[in-house]
Symmetry: C2
Subunit: 97 residues, 2 copies
């Protein structure tokens, strides 16, 4: 049985072809599906307007209309960092209360 | 309930403090624990010597003895890309048989 981290790596590996189909890249439409089907809870919980802007910028990395696997991983990194930053701020505020 | 991708992002977010403890960075010892506890199956299945070298290089990113969250994510990206490359080669070979 894979560990938590191995399962995480597998999910990233198989999410890409699941979205891209037979192509070796993601289109803006594929990214829209990713957002709506896979990241809806994350986006809904994102109340910080600066973080929302950052997410939009990250999604705009697909400027030429084609996003490869490595850029897809960087996109997920960017979203995870945004999410982590919000979480750290939230925990600090909670600590002050 | 989080989606597959949201769960993936959460795992990466919480794996870092789980390994680092109170510090805001990972040491070589923390990375050793990551390899032994979380990536053992992945390393054992990695039969390609070039891929093994690549993994060792990726782990050596922690040269000053401190790895921050962003570099940790890049390490996981590197391992996922190595894993994906091996998988693609394996599937192509299988297709030829």
């Amino acid at each position: 049985m894979p560990s938590q981290m191995e399962h995480t790596m597998e999910t990233m590996m198989f999410m890409f072809p699941k979205l891209a189909g037979d192509k070796c890249y993601l289109t803006k439409e594929n990214l829209r599906v990713l957002m709506e089907k896979e990241l809806l809870g994350f986006l809904e919980n994102q109340k910080d307007p600066l973080a929302r802007d950052k997410i939009r910028q990250d999604l705009d990395q697909c400027q030429d209309g084609k996003m490869g696997f490595q850029t897809f991983l960087l996109l997920i990194d960017g979203l995870t960092i945004t999410c982590n930053d919000s979480f750290v701020i939230h925990m600090k505020q909670k600590g002050k209360e």
